[in-house]
Symmetry: C2
Subunit: 369 residues, 2 copies
């Protein structure tokens, strides 16, 4: 069912999108300020994918770059629409709607900036079902819709079109080079597709899920009930139905570096119930793998979410600090994100990890929340 | 006057283009092999700029990348035409002719590959009047025609369009990043312009001058006369009328490194007439400055050409070896390449040199040849 999003929804959406960012994805709060400035008292139509005409023309929009840069370099706000218009002009067809390529982090917000500026509706779906560090890591591509041609816009009005045919990794490789030279952040329009292709290749209803998660956490706090129960209850009827508590503990070490346009690193957490054991998370923009005492407890593409141990406020890898008390949640991803094709695109091997994918609900983790 | 170029002209053209490459510009011999393969027994129409209709549509084509890479990575040959077709399609207009952006080095040949493949004529003019390391160093830009939009093609069919408006340095910066990620070499179409703009902004008749230089050197050798006299006689009636012998000596040291897509370095030569003095050349792909005993004798944009001391065969910076006996020639550039605007684009300061431009004919050099 389609619905209207207003500025009042943005704080909850930002909180939920940060959770789905699994440590990365860029700061949706910055994105929400951009949306607020353009949207004012207006509203944005969020289209349920089932309400899309099969022959509708959808152009997703997003930001690419290192989250550590995005925090310091706030975009002007006009770039994502310039990217969309550049791709429309290149393809000779106007978009009927925009859509996130990534529901976690700032990319939950960028299509809303475009929608507020252009009046286009936003499709309630995305191509990652979370956040991922590379443009090629898309269910769209896994199920046959490719990213090319991609349009990229810079803050000084630069416009770049990249067409690598079916080779989405080469597209990512070239677009990343341009983004680095634009100062670390670029805005893109890519994976243009029909409504029928959205229904076949996108992870559905992830924007509304992010909003529902953020709202549930806030309402639980206001009611002095458990925000962790609220998260589990919100996700239970969705495609993300399994939530596991992987650890409760204290951050004892964080290493991170920004290299080749990515924020890479490692966090160590001492479990409260067994401080001598090490709980370790490796990340590349997003959290990739969690091990406890050397044993795998959760791995990409499942969600590994670090949150405040009491308020459940999501904590990004840039926000991780020594001494923080945190909970780490493992959340199962939809079946369409766990097929062999999906794992080839964004499973462990795609990040250079040797481990096989194990669903978080099947791993040695703590009980279901 | 327009004329026909055939495969028989290619060795002379390659020799002359290497001389005008002033140490860089990439190897025209490799380019001539690409032309020969496509051209066979056919011929290419070389259009004098004065024969161009004012409203003709000209799309220059070229290769970009580090010469040290080009020697090892021979292009397939279809990329420059793909770049031209990509720009035609983007602009919605078919080209009436192609043209070099650079008459020195391999870029004297790339438009001939396009001409042989497409049947388009090539305009006898270019935008550098020699070779330069960056796409923004063009008389076209100095006199108001900008490079954007640029189309870039890779060997696996990648197509990239870059539009930075009037900012040619930003265009170069982004295109260079893509080229590096394509493996160090990319093929481009850029500086699309009208016939009237060609007449106003291009350095005229540089392709025929390169051919005449290469032919004159060969004929002098065959006749056992001085190839240096032949060079001077060939250039005297052109816009490049002053030729000075800067030194005759032995190469004593060469330092070079490929960094950020450029071949940068320094060559030292011991003068035969005063071996204790040092004659030094600094280069960035092309030779930038020559000093003798610390004193300036020639500086960019004038041509600093290292040639074999007897045969006058041009020697590129990659070809420089310890112990070689060489002559270094300084050649004056046309007045349109020495204006304040031209010097801002490709004079000493554009390369980070502190020295002011001094015309080679006014510097402390050896007498006019």
């Amino acid at each position: 069912m389609s619905w209207q999003l207003t500025a009042a929804d943005l704080p909850d959406l930002a909180r939920g999108a940060t959770l789905l960012g699994t440590g990365g994805g860029g700061d949706p709060y910055i994105g929400s300020m951009l949306v607020r400035r353009v949207l004012g008292d207006g509203s944005i139509t969020v289209l349920d994918p089932e309400d899309l005409d099969d022959d509708a023309f959808v152009i997703p929009t997003a930001q690419m770059g290192a989250p550590t840069v995005m925090v310091e370099k706030i975009p002007a706000g006009t770039e994502p629409t310039l990217a969309l218009r550049t791709l429309e002009s290149h393809l000779g067809r106007a978009a009927d709607a925009t859509m996130p390529i990534e529901c976690g982090g700032i990319n939950s917000m960028i299509p809303l900036v475009v929608a507020a500026e252009t009046g286009l509706p936003v499709v309630d779906a995305d191509g990652m079902g979370r956040a991922f560090p590379e443009l090629s890591m898309e269910t769209f591509a896994v199920y046959g819709v490719h990213g090319s041609p991609l349009a990229l816009a810079g803050e000084r009005g630069e416009r770049v079109i990249i067409d690598t045919g079916d080779d989405d990794r080469q597209m990512e490789w070239l677009a990343r080079a341009v983004t680095i030279r634009l100062g670390g952040v670029g805005h893109i329009a890519e994976y243009a597709m029909s409504g029928a292709e959205v229904k076949r290749t996108a992870v559905p209803r992830t924007l509304s899920m992010a909003l529902a998660l953020g709202r549930a956490i806030r309402l639980a706090r206001e009611a002095h009930t458990s925000p962790f129960d609220a998260i589990a209850e919100t996700l239970a009827p969705t495609l993300y139905s399994h939530v596991r508590e992987l650890v409760v503990g204290k951050v004892t070490d964080v290493e991170r570096r920004t290299t080749e346009g990515f924020a890479k690193g490692r966090a160590a957490i001492a479990p409260l119930d067994a401080p001598e054991e090490t709980f370790e998370i490796l990340f590349q923009n997003e959290n990739l793998i969690a091990r406890r005492g050397g044993e795998l407890v959760a791995i990409v593409p499942d969600l590994i979410c670090v949150v405040d141990h009491e308020s459940a406020e999501p904590i990004t890898t840039e926000g991780l600090r020594y001494g923080q008390r945190v909970r780490v949640l493992g959340i199962s991803t939809p079946a369409m994100m766990r097929t062999a094709g999906a794992l080839a695109a964004f499973g462990p091997a795609a990040f250079g990890l040797d481990e096989e994918f194990v669903p978080v609900e099947a791993s040695r983790a703590m009980p279901h929340l």
